[in-house]
């Protein structure tokens, strides 16, 4: 017993020394990850093959190492936030426009206004893309891709019902759908993915914008609960499409975007609102029975709309403040962002072109629309790119993007659904959304 304190001290010292040695051994790895010799790139699990091949090209060209990690889209925001809070080594990351205000306010993103080698690409970018990367007058990234909601139709079903052109207004959608329904071709001609899903806000924004409406005014005050501003009318239109006209399946409320894609690809519906990048899959015979018959049309207009507006969104490359604060890391991160989001030595947007021609992912960089390979791609997979380009030009940024967007959206989705289920009036649901918006806006 008397000797035990000495032994304990020796053990304690030994343990402390071992721990110290272990930490010294472990330190170089984390230091290396944070140092100027590598670029730490975080993305969600999309276009993984294309990203990896382009990373190899970057590593060869720059002699820099890229530490690439990706997370599934559904867990991406949470994963990135926890990593940022935990000061994990991150230099460049993919960001959704929906998270920009939240990330910028939390100082997890650095603005790139003072990095001219990145800012110069604004000259080629579609205006809504640049707007979507800008918060409080500062720009926070370079585009990865930009897309919009498209109204697509099945040419075969329309022909069989004797309809020679796609509807141009939502009233025409109802009439055409009823005609298709009466012809006995399909039970529910219009397919809408109204399940609780990250895409729901994009679907609803596209429909509200196409009705000439907005959710909030430019100062951020909610318009959604005001009659005649688009949101109430859109909700009522969808409710009637389900319960009165029966042209949309009541199962739409449990249909997420990915399931709706499969159903439309199977040729079970005539009309569909879809992200444009899905056209490639919808017209691929190995993925869809209706391949070759799916074509985009301009988004139908509501009674008060003057143009076929839709909802556009972008994903972009952002730089972390810790990377920007270190001269070497900042230079490497900028080099990486330019290699992926900018032009190569031959003046081509190489990676963005690869994303279009491999995956059908639309872009923010307007000169690509004239590229012969891109044109050939749209000819093959969408029957031409004119409608897509025209629709892209009238795409509007989601107006509900704010630092509290995520939390508002959590309460907005059930509110939308309560209308679609005929459990609440459009007015009551929109009032609830506006109340939540104001509550969050006040902080």
């Amino acid at each position: 017993m008397t000797g035990s304190p000495n032994v304990s001290r020796r053990m304690l010292l030994g343990t402390a020394l071992s721990a110290g040695a272990a930490s010294m051994w472990a330190t170089p790895t984390s230091l290396q990850a944070q140092s100027g010799g590598a670029v730490n790139f975080t993305a969600w699990s999309a276009a993984v093959d294309q990203v990896k091949s382009h990373i190899s090209a970057f590593e060869n060209a720059s002699k820099l190492k890229v530490n690439y990690e990706n997370f599934p889209w559904a867990q991406y925001r949470t994963s990135v936030v926890t990593r940022l809070v935990g000061n994990a080594p991150m230099d460049v990351l993919w960001i959704s426009d929906a998270w920009l205000p939240e990330f910028a306010e939390a100082q997890w993103l650095a603005n790139i206004d003072d990095i001219p080698e990145l800012m110069k690409y604004n000259a080629d970018a579609a205006p809504y893309c640049t707007q979507s990367m800008t918060y409080k007058g500062k720009q926070y990234g370079l585009s990865y891709y930009g897309d919009h909601m498209s109204f697509v139709y099945n040419t075969d079903i329309l022909q069989r019902a004797g309809i020679d052109k796609p509807p141009a207004t939502w009233d025409e959608v109802v009439r055409a759908s009823l005609k298709i329904k009466q012809a006995g071709t399909v039970e529910y001609p219009l397919l809408l993915a109204l399940g609780i899903d990250t895409w729901l806000v994009e679907f609803m924004s596209a429909m509200v914008f196409s009705n000439g409406g907005r959710f909030v005014d430019p100062q951020g005050a909610p318009l959604m609960a005001e009659p005649g501003r688009g949101a109430i009318e859109t909700a009522a239109w969808i409710r009637d499409a389900i319960h009165t006209h029966k042209i949309v399946s009541p199962g739409a409320v449990e249909t997420p975007e990915i399931n709706s894609l499969k159903a439309f690809g199977a040729g079970q519906h005539a009309f569909y609102v879809s992200p444009t990048y899905r056209l490639r899959a919808l017209n691929d015979p190995s993925q869809a029975a209706a391949a070759g018959k799916i074509r985009p049309a301009l988004m139908p207009r509501g009674p008060k709309a003057t143009a076929s507006a839709t909802c556009g969104w972008i994903r972009f490359y952002g730089m972390t403040p810790s990377a920007k604060a270190n001269a070497a890391r900042r230079a490497n991160a900028a080099k990486f962002m330019e290699f992926f989001g900018g032009k190569d030595d031959s003046g081509t947007y190489r990676f963005q072109k690869l994303l279009v021609t491999d995956l059908g992912l639309p872009f923010c960089t307007m000169p690509l629309a004239a590229d012969p390979d891109v044109k050939a791609f749209w000819d093959k997979w969408a029957g031409g790119g004119d409608v897509i380009a025209q629709q892209a030009s009238s795409a509007l940024k989601k107006d509900v993007i704010a630092p509290w967007f995520g939390e508002w959206n959590e309460s907005a989705s059930p509110a939308w659904q309560s209308v679609f289920l005929n459990k609440a009036t459009p007015e009551a649901a929109m009032r609830a959304m506006a109340t939540k918006w104001n509550e969050l806006r006040k902080g």
Partner: protein
């Protein structure tokens, strides 16, 4: 200091025998593990629940005392979640228990193939929860689901129904999927209790002229109380905290039809990233679970 410590050790040594001290030494590592993986998280999550922590606003972390709890009780969503959780728990526990007793009664009889049937009955319990959720989601599918196909074919439905998209049905459809998975274990637990009932009691009841129903009511059921208590406590604890089926099948929808307490905890913690509110909600749920378990034990325990 060293003298004092040695004296204290001596006193402890005199007070506790060799066996007690050996046991303490052997238990100590486990105690440390429990401290790290159970006690510390419980205490720390309570501490977290007293702060307004939002990961997306990392620059602020004010101490708010019990404000998070007050905000939760003032939130209408919480009371919706309480209602949904109560309905789900009552339906799941009661149906599971009744079916488990019925299946245990069947398996307690001697008939050819009984062992095979017992093994088959256990299969759903062995199915992973995620697979169970996906399977039932397919079965309920409004376009190609097995349930619709079956009911239309036998003439009980004239057209396919949207089971999970109907807010009046959703919670019951999820409860059905839960019962399918949870019932087998409950049946086996009750069967074990049933096997321990002395055969003499049934013989005596028969001599007294009791029919099969009276024998069940006066002999089997009272003797099953230990097993029933175990099943009720276990199933309540499982059901009240159920999450995976809600995540896979409905995501809390349609509307707020399956917005339960565990779903609210998930949304507040992992989507809104409000760890303070999430921790407070978890504590409320844990206390509710503890309270219910205590009520069951008090109600049935005295009769064990």
């Amino acid at each position: 200091m060293s003298t004092v410590s040695v004296s204290a050790l001596d006193r402890l040594g005199r007070r506790f025998g060799y066996d007690e001290r050996s046991a303490a030494v052997l238990i100590f590592p486990v105690f440390i593990v429990l401290l790290a993986v159970a006690i510390f998280p419980i205490v720390y999550s309570f501490y977290t629940s007293l702060f307004d922590i939002n990961l997306t606003r990392p620059w602020r972390r004010p101490f708010v005392g019990f404000d998070n709890y007050l905000r939760i009780f003032a939130d209408p969503n919480f009371w919706v979640a309480v209602q949904r959780t109560t309905v789900y728990t009552v339906v799941t526990v009661s149906v599971t228990t009744v079916l488990a007793v019925a299946v245990a009664l069947l398996l307690n009889e001697a008939f050819p193939g009984r062992r095979l049937l017992a093994a088959l009955v256990l299969l759903p319990w062995a199915t992973p929860s995620i697979v169970n959720g996906l399977m039932w989601k397919w079965i309920y599918n409004p376009g190609y689901g097995l349930l619709n196909g079956l009911l239309v074919q036998i003439g009980l439905l004239d057209r396919y129904k949207v089971w999970l998209g109907d807010p009046d049905l959703t919670i019951f459809m999820i409860a059905n999927a839960a019962v399918w998975k949870q019932m087998p274990l409950a049946a086996i637990l009750i069967l074990v209790t049933m096997k321990a009932i002395p055969e003499d009691l049934y013989k005596a009841a028969k001599v007294d002229g009791a029919n099969v129903f009276r024998r069940f009511w006066h002999v089997t059921l009272p003797a099953l109380k230990p097993g029933l208590m175990l099943v009720l406590v276990y199933e309540t604890m499982i059901s009240i905290r159920h999450f995976d089926l809600f995540l896979i099948m409905t995501q809390g929808g349609p509307g707020d039809a399956s917005y339960t307490l565990s779903w609210q905890i998930f949304v507040e913690t992992f989507r809104n990233l409000k760890f303070g509110i999430g921790a407070a909600l978890s504590y409320i749920l844990a206390l509710a679970t503890f309270g219910l378990s205590y009520v069951f034990i008090r109600a049935l325990g005295s009769k064990l």
